[in-house]
């Protein structure tokens, strides 16, 4: 029977260290399988989050050999030979072992102004597939928060968390901005309070996204252009002051590069 040695970070907010566990490894297994095996045998108190074990819920994000990954979707046979190191996500405060306090994300979620649609016709809204697809891409997000974990604006600068929403919420804002039914205007909020300007487009978030959402290209860059456009274009500024902006469809709302 093949075996694998796992170096797992154990500890809490007061500190901790790596512990090594050598356990059985079967064909096709993922990192979460062996974490579960450690729990079931040597360390029933080893803390980790997981739910679906199918890459759909985003609960089991951790840093595997230093890189943010979903433990349930990382096959051991695709990692380099030798020990496997598992650590909690670095950007968030430790609760215990592999479990971090991700409440920052829930605080940011609470600040998002909700969708503001027009009244629904009796037979429901009409929207076309090509108009919903842009926002649908962002709604694939499983909230694993690995994009937040890898974003150096908050990974290396705790102090930015008060005024920086992070990639997960930039795609949420982009989703709402491109939503065919939305009439809310969040551009000033995004620029002034959500810190979009701090992002310097290094695409780290896009690289780690398990849903392959093109966070930088399809959400952040268009959002930056839209926000900058609105801020510096006096005609657009005046227009916003005079009447509430309405979006007829995502196509109409498509962003053109600033002149």
């Amino acid at each position: 029977m093949a075996q694998v040695t796992m170096r797992v970070w154990r500890g809490d907010a007061n500190g901790g260290d790596f512990e090594s566990y050598t356990v059985e490894q079967n064909e096709g297994e993922v990192v979460l399988d062996v974490i579960h095996r450690i729990q079931a045998t040597e360390a029933p108190d080893l803390a980790c989050r997981w739910n679906c074990k199918a890459g759909k819920c985003g609960s089991c994000a951790a840093e595997i050999n230093g890189k943010p990954r979903l433990m349930c979707m990382t096959r051991l046979d695709q990692l380099p030979e030798g020990e496997v190191t598992v650590t909690p996500m670095k950007t968030f405060p430790i609760i215990r072992d592999l479990v971090t306090d991700v409440s920052f994300n829930f605080q940011m979620a609470a600040k998002v102004p909700a969708l503001l649609p027009p009244a629904m016709p009796a037979e429901g809204y009409r929207m076309y597939q090509e108009d919903v697809e842009r926002s649908q891409e962002f709604r694939k997000c499983i909230e694993c928060f690995m994009c937040q974990d890898v974003c150096h604006v908050i990974r290396d600068h705790e102090e930015n968390k008060t005024h920086y929403a992070g990639p997960r919420f930039f795609i949420r804002y982009a989703e709402l901005e491109m939503h065919p039914l939305d009439t809310n205007d969040r551009r000033d909020l995004i620029r002034e309070d959500m810190g979009l300007g701090y992002c310097n487009i290094t695409k780290c978030c896009t690289e780690v996204c398990p849903e392959h959402i093109k966070i930088t290209d399809n959400a952040i860059i268009p959002l930056k252009e839209r926000v900058v456009d609105a801020h510096y274009d006096p005609v657009a500024w005046l227009g916003r002051k005079i009447r509430r902006r309405t979006k007829r469809s995502a196509n109409d709302a498509a962003v053109q590069p600033a002149p």
Binding site: G28, P44, N51, K56, C57, R139
Partner: protein, 602 residues
């Protein structure tokens, strides 16, 4: 002792589709509401739902209406359903689905801009509103974002140990602990809604996450409510079988709805050999006829791969037993040879990735190896259809934890719509109950102290058993003794084993501290798992027939003697392992106009 304490009008236990939909309703009524969840918000098992939510909107087939949906649901449930739930569900699902779009949901569209609908087993028309194969994610995210925008209080990663009554016998709240710290918390409320989902975690091969331990089922049982139809367990026909690491993981029925077919090791489309009498008139009898149906439902009858799930799961089981299975003990699900790669990747993106990444199988080229997996419990808390009220004053239940809606077998797609229809109704029922409530809910302090003390005992033992060992043995026992095909002698053994597990739970030793300790968490889940398993086994022994999600090798046919009642389980209170009493509970008498719908040929 003093604990963190909260007072609410309505307490909702569970943050899946039903719990969140109930919370929205209660909050909109201006009441003080809290949602408690074992996980983080947005991670409930609802996210695992793939194919869609059933609602007779008639966007794809204008012939569709609530009457046909009602008929399909009752036939799928082998008439064991609470007809009133099936009726309300069929009538209200379209409105509930449309409402989601006001809150931001973006379903896939038809060419003329309406919500697109897809075919699923047992549904006469294409009826499932969907977003690719991630519809559950869309539902949970939409409801989650609505709840967050309303400012509803959500207590994440709190495990509820027990419901607590007041001195008058009304449910008055609960006692829980915070997983992060292990500290205890009490909640008092005028009404409590159980929306805790299912119980599939007690089987070895399951699509359920660690959360599906039947907490709500068990807490209702312990609180004096009745559980019905517990023997009716849905084994979804298509779970992954290989690698072992992912055995049980769900493969959406959408694969078959979109043209996928089942084949045995000889390459035969074997489902044609398993069409039961009651479905023969509406099922194709040749591959040629079946294949025409996908494009035009009037050009042929439906393919047998889209029979209700219980029929398909049994057929697969029989093929494997007859030696015509795949190398890892399943059969083949083939869509790669029948649809273009582009179509498959667009319609079934997460299935494509799931197989590519976890099994190294490209489903656009190769067949999937699949087999039945424990997926859903039709049984649950007996409720009043209109209000979701249980027999215990102040206690409501909605979603998978409630029984009756799906009878002996649930149709695919009827679960997500169940959540929003009855989640909302539970919210209305609880809010109305609160409006008529006099007094202030008072927790029975002695009961709180007792529940807390009991949960801490496993830390105090010098020696004892690892809870993971008990869970593993329970799962293996339930899989082999109370699985897809059952027989009296094995069920009797199960009862004996369950008594043994009950004793073993009383000897658990938990290692480590209380802060985020999964071993302790499991120790507090096991009593629920065992209580629920006992009800399942008892019901399975008593129902001496085969119907829907309950198949007896020794009674292979449905029997008219068992067609008119559910088995209802209850306890007289006391400790979690107190004696379970099982009695017959007559089905509601269906009005003649609804009965006529079932008899119409359609």
């Amino acid at each position: 002792m003093n604990y963190e304490h909260h007072d609410y009008d309505v307490l909702i236990i569970g943050a899946g589709g039903a719990g969140l939909r109930a919370a929205i309703e209660v909050q909109q009524r201006g009441l003080k509401v809290a949602v408690i969840t074992k996980s983080l918000l947005g991670k409930a098992h609802t996210v695992m739902a793939e194919g869609g939510m059933a609602a007779a909107m008639g966007n794809v087939y204008s012939e569709d209406n609530w009457q046909v949906h009602f008929r399909d649901t009752m036939r799928g449930g082998k008439y064991l359903n609470n007809y009133r739930m099936a009726e309300l569900h069929a009538k209200e699902a379209p409105e509930r689905v449309l409402e989601l779009e006001q809150w931001g949901a973006l379903f896939d569209r038809t060419k003329d801009g309406k919500i697109s609908q897809r075919d699923f087993g047992g549904h006469r028309y294409a009826r499932l509103a969907h977003v690719g194969d991630r519809t559950g994610l869309e539902l949970i995210r939409t409801l989650q974002q609505k709840v967050v925008s309303m400012g509803t209080d959500v207590f994440m990663e709190h495990k509820v140990l027990k419901l607590i009554h007041d001195h008058e016998g009304r449910v008055a709240g609960c006692v829980a602990y915070q997983r992060a710290t292990g500290e205890f918390v009490t909640f008092a409320a005028k009404a409590v809604v159980l929306a805790t989902g299912g119980a599939g975690r007690s089987w070895k091969f399951t699509s359920n996450s660690w959360e599906g331990t039947g907490d709500g089922h068990a807490m209702a049982l312990w609180a004096g409510a009745q559980l019905i139809d517990m023997e009716c367990i849905q084994f979804h026909p298509t779970g992954m079988v290989w690698p072992l690491s992912v055995r049980g993981l769900l493969v959406t029925e959408g694969v078959r709805g979109d043209g996928g077919v089942l084949r045995n090791s000889e390459g035969r489309r074997f489902m044609f050999d398993y069409v039961a009498e009651m479905f023969r008139d509406e099922t194709a009898d040749s591959e040629e006829e079946a294949d025409k149906w996908y494009d035009d439902h009037s050009a042929g009858r439906r393919p047998p791969e889209l029979l209700p799930r219980d029929e398909v799961a049994r057929a697969i089981n029989t093929e494997v037993k007859a030696g015509r299975g795949s190398p890892h003990g399943g059969v083949y699900l083939d869509i790669g040879s029948r649809r273009s790669a582009e179509f498959i990747r667009r319609r079934l993106p997460s299935m494509y990735h799931q197989f590519m990444e976890l099994a190294g199988v490209d489903i656009t080229k190769e067949s999937m190896e699949i087999g039945p997996t424990c997926h859903y419990i039709m049984g649950g808390v007996k409720v009043d259809a209109d209000t979701a009220a249980t027999s215990v004053d102040g206690l409501f239940a909605a979603g998978e934890v409630a029984g009756g809606m799906h009878g002996a077998n649930r149709l695919g797609g009827n679960s997500l719509s169940d959540l929003i229809v009855f989640g909302r109704r539970a919210g209305v029922g609880a809010a109305d109950f609160v409006a008529a409530y006099a007094g202030v809910p008072q927790l029975d302090e002695a009961a709180v102290e007792a529940a807390i003390a009991e949960s801490l005992v496993p830390f105090e033992r010098e020696e004892g058993e690892n809870p993971y060992d008990i869970q593993r043995d329970l799962q293996e026992m339930m899989q082999s003794n109370v699985g897809i095909i059952r027989t009296r002698s094995e069920l009797d053994e199960a009862i004996t084993h369950l008594e043994g597990f009950t004793e073993r739970v009383k000897n658990i030793k938990v290692k480590g501290g209380r802060a985020y300790n999964p071993g302790w968490n499991l120790a507090t889940d096991l009593p629920a798992m065992i209580s629920v398993s006992k009800c399942v086994a008892r019901g399975a022994i008593l129902r001496e027939e085969s119907r829907g999600g309950h198949t007896r090798e020794d009674f292979p046919q449905a029997s008219p003697d068992f067609a008119t009642f559910n088995f209802a389980h209850s306890t007289h209170g006391g400790s979690w392992d107190s004696e379970i009493v099982t009695e017959r509970s007559a089905l509601l008498e269906m009005p003649v106009e609804l009965k006529a719908l079932l008899e119409e040929g359609h």
